[in-house]
Amino acid sequence: MESTGAKFDVTKLDLWYGQTQALNQVSMKIEANSITALIGPSGCGKSTFLRVLDRMNDLIDGVRVEGTVLYDGADIFGSADVIDLRKRIGMVFQKPNPFPMSVFDNVAYGPRVHGLHARTAAEKRHLSELVEKSLVNAALFDEVKDRLHKSALGLSGGQQQRLCIARVLAVEPDVLLMDEPTSALDPISTAKIEALLDELKVRYTIVIVTHNMQQAGRVSDSTGFFLHGELVEYAPTKEIFFNPRDKRTENYISGRFG
């Protein structure tokens, strides 16, 4: 591979939902250990693009994909094992989706399905350390340490979303995909999660879909602007915001539509 830093190398990606084309010739390189924001109006294909990266679109009937997506140089549609792919590429959703089980069990879910059985005392300790570490890294531990074994559904929306981040971190992924992770949250919870992103990018490659341009401006290193399924412009965030090359980007950034 020519560019050593690219975590994802997407070339000429087309995607159809049945007869409707949702992505059109999207090419994009996503750098490791950076935060890449995807912006654009509703229905522009940014979430669809995100969901291609860990093949969550496989779940939808009638989806057809053409083009290549290389992850660490390997084609994700080729021989790659989708389970292993999703283990290494974590996803945080728009709406917090904790499982109806305890806080602890939510975080332990990933490690458990990947074969970490807490049978012996040492394994049990390892699991609870992993859970604690993940909660600490998601900036949630102090708020839930006294109620680890109570239902996660009792947490506030912002806490639930950080729990979902902790749940992903516990699988020890390499990439975090986030689909409008703060759109259902209040400003304080949003600020907490944005602060968290900055810490996380040291260890993870983060791709975040957001319809909040201020958020993209605050947190991201690079920004891609999608419109009607096309990647109109993709550049360092500063350039997109202060010196957009495409007229459409400029119109969107300046709030003329969207």
Binding site: M56, F93, Y109, V113, S151
Partner: protein
């Protein structure tokens, strides 16, 4: 203007009256059943009735012990669930999660037909096939607790299948995606997230099926053997509460007839308890869903 309001009020009153009919029917049935059944306890004690094992309603000194039939109902229903729950759950999971459109359409049609078959046909099927199979395999007459349970299991399958499927489909899509996105397999997602999330609904379905099973009369009558004795094992003959009522009803007189109404009361109480359980389970499942949408 006035006429329209009058019409509105009239329609409302009519619908309310219809709704009232269903409530009144329940009340009437309850009152009537108790009124006809309770006088038995002037002749024999409730303990002797419920825990007596001796059913000799026409003897010179009659005995009205129905414990054998209570146990018969409990055993037959319980055993039928042992067969029906694993199969029903599996089919429900298959329909909700695994089957492609064509397969699920076919299976659903079959399940609907299964639900619509009259119980006497199940009885005929039980006599023709099930009793002879159990006779060949396990001995005895073939008219037994085991045969009755198998027939009942088939009859309760549609309820359990439908409720399982519906409950699984009602689990928010986000939970499934959340699990798969963590790298869980589809199967792990089903077993560890979807089924637990749908648990209350599934339990309600099982209890609903139980209610159907315990109230079923004709099919069990045809294959159960209907001997008024304590159930003596899987291949032994069995009489349930429903069978007891239907068998003696054609000729019973006086206290004997009253004892059949009293048997009906016991059955009624069983059904009532099961229905309350269903309501509770469903209420819990609804509040559970609200919690997951949670703020």
């Amino acid at each position: 203007m006035k006429r329209r309001i009058l019409f509105e009020k009239g329609a409302e009153a009519l619908l309310f009256a219809c709704a009232l009919v269903s409530i009144l029917t329940v009340v009437f049935i309850t009152v009537f059943l108790f009124q006809r059944g309770l006088p038995l306890f002037a002749k024999t004690s409730m303990a002797a009735f419920l825990f007596g094992t001796n059913w000799e309603p026409t003897a010179a000194t009659p005995h009205y012990g129905i414990l054998s039939f209570i146990l018969g109902s409990v055993y037959v229903t319980g055993l039928s669930l042992v067969f029906a729950v694993p199969v029903g759950l599996s089919v429900g999971i298959y329909l909700a999660e695994l089957a492609d459109k064509q397969a699920s359409r076919g299976i659903r049609a079959a399940v609907e037909i299964l639900a619509g078959i009259p119980s006497v046909i199940y009885g005929l099927f039980g006599i023709a096939i099930i009793s002879s199979v159990t006779r060949t395999l396990f001995g005895g007459s073939g008219y037994s607790l085991l045969s009755a349970s198998i027939v009942l299991a088939i009859m309760t399958l549609p309820t359990i299948i439908n409720v399982t499927e519906v409950s699984l489909r009602a689990v928010p899509r986000e939970l499934k995606e959340g699990s798969l996105a963590l790298g869980a397999t589809h199967w792990q997602t089903i077993v560890r997230v979807l089924v637990p999330a749908a648990r209350s609904g599934i339990i309600a379905g099982v209890v609903l099926g139980m209610g159907r099973a315990i109230g079923e009369t004709m099919a069990v009558l045809m294959v159960g053997g209907n001997a008024p004795i304590m159930p003596s094992g899987l291949t032994g003959k069995v009489r349930t509460l429903t069978m007891n009522i239907i068998t003696d009803m054609s000729y019973a007189k006086g206290d004997h007839l009253t004892s059949l109404f009293a048997t009906g009361i016991v059955l009624f109480v069983f059904i009532l308890a099961l229905n309350l359980t269903v309501q509770l389970a469903l209420k819990r499942s609804i509040s559970g869903t609200e919690g997951s949408a949670g703020a």
